[in-house]
Symmetry: D2
Subunit: 400 residues, 4 copies
């Protein structure tokens, strides 16, 4: 049973957590083998903002929507108009995600492309995205590069690195003083021999060179098997270089499964490192907590609500770690007690704290059930099917 | 320098090697993030047979073309007509590959689907494919299942197994006496929590239950990291259960890279286990040597020629392993000599043997160069671009 | 909060769980880089039985002790005497584990050794162990083989397989009708190129050939990274071929960490597959639940108590899975609900059920604390240090 | 067939390659499951220097011997005496390797230990090693830390990082101007939850903070599965932060197998990145090429000769990469040709170049055979067995 002090700790932690939802999580997605379509999948940015609004309405604390330039914006889109539409749905625009892989010109890379014209094209797109961020009042620009090579010898690893140094520096120069540039790493896919920013170390070095507003973005699915993610998180926090997360879970590769669905204890440990850092330093690190998942089969809004609820639950648990007792056990090299202190928090039933927090925020006690009962999904399926027919579309956009 | 006896061994080995080319290797393919299109990519089965004919014409010993039902065939396609067209291109139809993942009904699986109607639909498609095989004079039916689940609890693992036992048995019953059924395994993708036939052991058990004409298919990219593939090959050979290969290379997951491009020594060791088995038993195992690659960026016909040349080179090297010396070193537990015997064969320059074999077969000395100089690719690019425009197509079909 | 029916389910499940403790878990162990010694580490079998008795006394339901022939027995040891000593400590002898790697003659393997004399030596040791099992009234003989090769070519994979088929068959012939032979698999270590029984498939095929009393042993640390262990468990259960477990946890390789310390949800899912099988078939499978851990740093008896408590907690949680609701959700392909049913059970606070069960068994409410307060560890440290000095020993035996 | 220019390139490359042999490679080593002993295994530093001298005498270009403080030195050892003994055997002392894991005090780490006294003890040992390096005229001090934790929560990851920053800085301060400090990384073993310097990124950051004479050491066996090592090498070269290698090969974990025995193409690609860097920059990077292998079963001197010969062969092959043609193919994004340029070099039979180089150095044409015929091994086995008996030893020292 939770004690009152625990409930307070958990509620405070939840109050400090703001989660960002990806617009692309509401479109039809799939694997290279195809997509299974959903009637209620979003067709355009309006749909996505509406869906995101639903998630925030029922789950709470996820008022930000990450947008993907190209999928969500075109030249004709007026940023202030988008910002207004987001507000109407009770959300606001979060990180801006340039798309540096969809154009056919990116066949051999974007910032790393041997062709200087393609590199300039890519840079221009990033600069446009930075401007867009200023336009919609978003602070975060997130760079994920599909760049890399498929075969040994295909390109010079060192020259590609130099091109990245140059491109990132050029992008950084155009940031507004309050903007930050997040640089994501990924060991493979879609490049299969090497990716230009393969691990946190490469992202760290390149970010440092780009300038003081660049930070490392940790996508929890972008690691080697068995890699200790929470250690990387702790290391980057200590270096002041952790800029944000793309949360998801996975079993094998970058599977983009629901957060905590495969290894909830790992998610908990990541949260625990962050809250431990806050406890020790007395400062709340400036971290963008973003979701990056592709629910190929699950109903999309439901899956996103499930994700946010899971994040809330595991974050609340992490807030229960008895920091002083843990420090004491560590000092005594009492491994068993130290471990049990973590596990005790992890296995605590935090329902009471979630209930208090939801009441305070006037959120439904069972957000998933409340959403299901709202009729939104059936209505979206009906209206979007109809609209898709009128537009002559077979699926709802986005990748694959 | 190769001795005459070595050249003879290598040439004999090459004479015994017949490689099957996948029709889908000539279409535009990509990853879930998109496709980079090629003008010369094949549009329809005619194009694919033509492209495969080119590969066989220049590289030799790859007269078989694996076909993918749905992508290559529809109800209106007459099997004998296809067989005739293949012949015109100097090739013939190899394995028949049913497609059990593209229809929307397969969202939750095919043979493993909880819905009996979908299972029947899948079975019917397999039975049609078996008939098609009879019609085109093909002996091999290859089953790859995208079946599995994405989340713990999503379905009963044991019930799915029972459904597979039932479906495979039903398919096996309809085989002609000379047909064989190959059952492929894959640990993940597109299913991310579990796949129903995850490893060779599951394929082995299910094949045994299906009936005496079922065998295990080894796709070299469908293994856990660090798994010893040549041991599985040796084990299955010894059990009489190795039916065939899907060859490719990879670094991380099922990357479908060119054979031998990442770890050529592993490919060599696989070939060496097969030739060692032949040497010991005096019998040539009935193995379908199939290629299964997706050259997302490389020019497709060139990449396929490169693949076949690589297979020839590594197979010729494997034929040079001094089997008697190896046995002697093994008996003496002389690890160093045993190892060096393998490496000596691997690092032997087999150009002389390849030259002899190509002369004998009236193949060009540099098949890749000869193909490049033929003008086929430029002409295909021109004609297919034009045709694509006329058909209103944006890309050349196939997955992703 | 647990409902009464849940408490009853959990208590019944706990009543059906009997855990076996490894005698070698009480000795000083380490890595290839050395051992950190503990004063209280066991010196001989008496110490180990005493330590195991402590674990059972405080944690309950672990009355069996796995013994390792060579480390625990010599020719002079009288089996009935050992059985008696075990009884005095409130435990009994569980599985018999022959040692087939410690003798210098096993340099190139035991059952797989190219030298027939070594193979005979190994077989004799297994036959002695089978007799020993009969002598101490133990039903289970567990075979783990360190056999394999370090380099490609070192030995014939197929010939080694044949030798294993022969050896296992010969061992099986000497089993008493009620004895079972468990065959363990492991992908690597101490052999680094291939191990002769590398995965569950090889263990399955070899066990089937050995005879009807052979079964597969699943060591949770003996898998490739990302392999789905609970699927293997479900598959083997369905085949009637799951003989037992060696439980532990790991992050990278065969790390032999405390059960559930790294990925408790995975352990829960394994338990859930077993209890689901029981629910569906109405039969309790005959599974030996054995622990195989090396607590290199943790105090050994405490670590073993922690392990048993963890097993109890996770097993109780697995008993709470609402099987009917799960089946219903699966039938409806309602992924989210199916998943949440598992997670709800996993995150239920089962303290009330554990309290009821401990009261019923007259076990302390906080077994670890009760053990710590008993003074046993300090006394063992004192007495064993003294004895070690008298015997001229530097460490407590066992491996590394 | 090699052209004259190729032979010259290869010979020049070989002339620039100097390999360092580990003294501990001549002792009996094993796994945590035990050691298989060899009569000819070295007992003390004299034996090791003698063995290393043999390797250099037959294989050439490996005149340096890495030494392990504690195993090779004690307080009474006079550095100048050791340097003299090395000279007598035709070798000289290479890198100094402090031992920071063998003392019982290191149970919870060395530089990362929570106890400041242990940290000081470890630092003192490193400072002694730095002095020893000065004494024997060795330039390189190599730091490998077994530090880490086994369980979540066991210690504060960030505090351990701070302790490492402090310790490395303190060590760096005592370096002579020409000494360099190499900082090794390793993802796991013997620590199983996290190691304090888990990857190249952590080593890079900590080295940068330690001071300008600190560099990253790449042990080829210390990576996650599927990690691209040659990319890390290229990245570090470009950053001026690659200090040296510990070469070996592996299949699963840190298996310490013979270089190039499992994946020779990977070793070749690493060499190719280094030689490509030299070609592009016109500078030869200051890299310590060290071997770190444990030949648990192979005869140790033979295995080391085999290793050096393999390094020579693969380095010579890497020197044959046609750099200009490669650049041209890369510029044209001609993947196939770029790849084939690498493979052509890899598969070139470099025997002619090795013959020329060996003749020039007055080395035997078949170094392994020449060593075998020398009678050294039999004599060492005889004499060392006898000496071992006299000293009352059962094995030859070193780890496990």
């Amino acid at each position: 049973m939770m004690k009152d002090a625990d409930i307070e700790n958990a509620v405070n932690a939840l109050d400090s957590l703001e989660i960002e939802i990806p617009s692309w999580g509401f479109s039809d997605t799939g694997t290279r083998f195809g997509k299974y379509l959903q009637d209620a999948a979003a067709i355009d940015l309006n749909d996505k903002l509406s869906d995101a609004g639903q998630v925030n309405r029922y789950a709470g604390n996820c008022p930000l929507v990450a947008v993907h330039v190209l999928w969500d914006f075109d030249a004709a889109t007026r940023p202030d108009e988008v910002a207004r539409k987001a507000m109407e749905n009770g959300v606001r625009i979060g990180s801006i995600n340039p798309n540096l892989f969809q154009d056919q010109c990116y066949k051999y890379g974007s910032f790393g492309n041997p062709d200087p014209e393609v590199r300039q094209h890519a840079l221009n797109h990033v600069l446009d995205s930075i401007e867009l961020g200023k336009g919609v009042g978003s602070r975060v620009v997130t760079l994920w590069f599909a760049d890399g090579t498929n075969y040994p010898g295909q390109d010079s690893i060192r020259e590609r690195k130099h091109r990245f140094e140059e491109g990132l520096k050029a992008a950084h120069e155009k940031l507004a003083p309050d903007q930050i540039l997040l640089v994501e790493y990924k060991p493979f896919e879609p490049a299969f021999y090497q990716t230009d920013i393969a691990d946190w170390g490469m992202s760290y070095v390149l970010s440092r060179k780009a300038g003081p507003q660049a930070r490392v973005l940790v996508d929890t699915g972008h690691h080697y098997l068995s890699q200790n993610i929470e250690q990387i998180v702790a290391f980057l926090l200590d270096e002041g270089m952790l800029g944000g997360f793309h949360f998801n879970d996975r079993r094998y590769a970058d599977d983009d499964l629901t957060l905590g669905s495969i290894d909830p204890y790992q998610t908990f440990r990541i949260f625990s490192e962050i809250l431990g850092y806050q406890y020790d330093t007395g400062t709340t690190p400036d971290i963008a907590y973003m979701i990056d998942q592709s629910h190929n089969l699950k109903p999309k809004v439901q899956a996103m609500i499930q994700t946010v609820l899971t994040a809330q639950e595991l974050f609340a648990k992490a807030a229960l770690v008895d920091r002083d007792a843990l420090k004491k056990a560590q000092k005594q090299t009492n491994e068993i007690d130290a471990e049990e202190i973590l596990r005790r928090a992890f296995f605590t039933d935090v329902t009471p704290a979630l209930r208090v927090w939801r009441d305070k925020r006037k959120l439904p006690g069972d957000p998933l059930q409340a959403y299901r009962e709202s009729g939104y999904e059936a209505e979206a399926a009906r209206e979007r099917s109809q609209r898709r027919k009128e537009l002559g579309l077979t699926s709802g956009g986005s990748y694959a």
